[in-house]
Symmetry: C2
Subunit: 150 residues, 2 copies
């Protein structure tokens, strides 16, 4: 396998094509990472999520990292890493962005957005309380693994 | 979608079944997350990796988080989060662990281990220098998303 850097355009192409990423936050230098559904716009990633440990962490330390990949095999893959800052979006001020992000997310994952964004319920175990936030992108880079035969 | 906590046994079952995880490290409270191939043993996760930003980060701050999932659809998934400490394994002292981990990893991903662990080469862009390390597991938890219809 060879590993090569990919261009900014190839990074954004992957971010437009894939809708599930892994979001890392950090509190007192203890990192924490969970899968989230996101929508990419130039300079921003939009995310709907449930309240929980990661939201509490990002409210205290807004530095985050989103990793997005497409792994065909362990020797044939692309991975993009985005570093940025968490910004929670309040209802009134960001309603236009929220609608646009919901629309973007719903294209690829309608059943994901629905339970998180449109309902507030207590299931048997976990409180599902939706939070809408944005990651202001500070840097972006990507790698590609290529099988030797290519 | 309902979200429920899964048991420790269900967590370890997923860690045994899946060999690609997302590993988060943190330096100066800036998290960083990348995909890695791992092998689970009780109390430990074993990882072969290339030298780079994450290794430099973990050498300075050993607190890490590994996230492993199986996502059938956005409303039908399992995700396990492991928090632990990075320990780099030197050749002589840990040769038995290294051989066992290589054997475990090779079952599910032979072409992944080979280029990372057995070669040291400079490709056109990225230096592939293998590092073998262990994550000493401090805590483990998991969630499952279940479609409403179930």
């Amino acid at each position: 396998m060879r590993i090569v850097e990919i261009s900014h355009d190839e990074c954004t192409h992957l971010l437009n094509r894939v809708s599930i990423g892994r979001l890392a936050s950090s509190l007192d230098n203890q990192p924490y990472v969970v899968p989230v559904c996101f929508a990419y716009e130039p300079n921003y990633l939009y995310v709907f999520s449930t309240v929980g440990k990661k939201i509490e962490s990002m409210r205290q330390n807004p530095k985050v990292c989103m990793q997005v990949d497409d792994i065909a095999s362990p020797s044939n893959w692309m991975s993009v890493v985005v570093e940025g800052n968490y910004r929670e979006l309040q209802e009134a001020q960001y309603s236009a962005e929220k609608e646009r992000a919901k629309e973007r997310l719903s294209r690829s994952s309608e059943w994901w957005v629905a339970p998180l964004a449109q309902r507030r319920e207590h299931t048997s175990d976990i409180l599902i309380e939706p939070v809408f936030f944005r990651i202001d992108i500070q840097s972006m880079s990507g790698l590609r693994g290529i099988p030797e035969a290519e």
